[in-house]
Amino acid sequence: MRTRIISSMLAAAFALAATATLFSQAAPAGQGARGGARGGAAAAAAPSAPAPAKDLTGVWMMRNPPGKNGPWTNFTYTDPMKNPPSLTAWGEAEFKKAKDSNGGNYTLDETNDPVLTKCYPPGVPRVYFHPYPFEVIQTPKQTLLVYEYDHWMRRVHTDGRALPTDPDPLWMGTSVGRWVDDHTFEVQTVGFNEKTWLDRLGHAHTPDLKVTERFRRIDRDHLEVDIKMDDPKALAKPWETTFYYENRPNWELGEISCSGDYLDWTQVEKGGRDYKR
């Protein structure tokens, strides 16, 4: 009996996945099957046309292919139960102070998340957790990473300059980039202040944080971003992950401002009666 139920469930899941894949192949990128990767019944990452050389331009949206990553990619880099980060004693102590909201543990009234309570810039690589697309714009000497969330833009210098050795602290750091091969663009970023969280759970970092991102364009429609965080004072060993993105040729970035309504949302969550516009 139980085997039959499980078999039926597997068959149903397979049917769903197959249907989703069919839809995905029939529809242009951006109009694929419903139920996105976050729902667990996503379309397979069907290969598309080959990637153009040294070109990341376009709008990209996080979509986890089946079997890759899980719901935790909405708030942290690796499975917090199976593969949490290796923290230093300082990192552990700081993490204990964090009261996250995005992980589902605290309400907006209780959290001390600097983005949600103060509208601080998210920092890098936390900016990737905002579930909105980002756009890559390439110019001869800079590649611009434009994030829909709060209009954040990172300027990646590609004019051959070296990373600064003693950088001034910035919210989003100072970045340089280079093409490793025709489809791999590596960005290194240093010079952060210590006011941001690494992720939405509240893992801390120091001004010594160095972030390495490798943007690998697998084919025309698929981008994988390997992210590595080095920060010996906060992380006992580097924290690494890979995030998955799909091209959205028909999308345009919209406006999201972290102000006003954003911060007022506590009132709505508490009951809505005090919410005034």
Partner: protein, 125 residues
């Protein structure tokens, strides 16, 4: 046999409606253990960040009505799914499924929503 079928259908439904992550914050303020369905009349649609809010009146058994608010994802995401600020208008009938505020306030985290013309998407693809 019918019980098996029900179980399988429930499984498919769970797969299909598994909601995307919250855009702005977690769902700790809302009762994630149960959902309820409400029918009402739209009084206002706030197409704002960080979440679109729909206000609606629900008639109670005693003839009074309760003003509810239900929140959706960000307007950018709904726009890409086909919404505009005019998708729901005052007077429209509305059916929503969602999780209520834990403190009992008439505030709903909307999981499914249907207007006069049927189901509306709750996130972009």
């Amino acid at each position: 046999m019918s019980r098996n079928l029900l179980f399988v259908l429930a499984f498919i439904a769970a797969l299909a409606i598994a909601a995307p992550a919250l855009a702005h914050h977690g769902g700790a303020a809302f009762d994630q253990t149960k959902q309820q369905t409400l029918q009402g009349t739209v009084t206002q649609l706030d197409f704002v960040n960080p979440h679109v809010v729909v206000w609606f009146d629900v008639k109670n058994a005693d003839g009074t009505s309760t003003k509810w608010s239900g929140w959706l994802t960000a307007p950018n995401k709904l726009q890409r799914a086909g919404w505009t600020k005019n998708t729901l208008k005052p007077g429209d009938t509305l059916t929503v499924v969602g999780n209520q505020q834990k403190n009992g306030s008439p505030v709903l985290q909307i999981r499914k929503i249907a207007g006069p013309e049927g189901d509306l998407p709750t996130f972009e693809q």
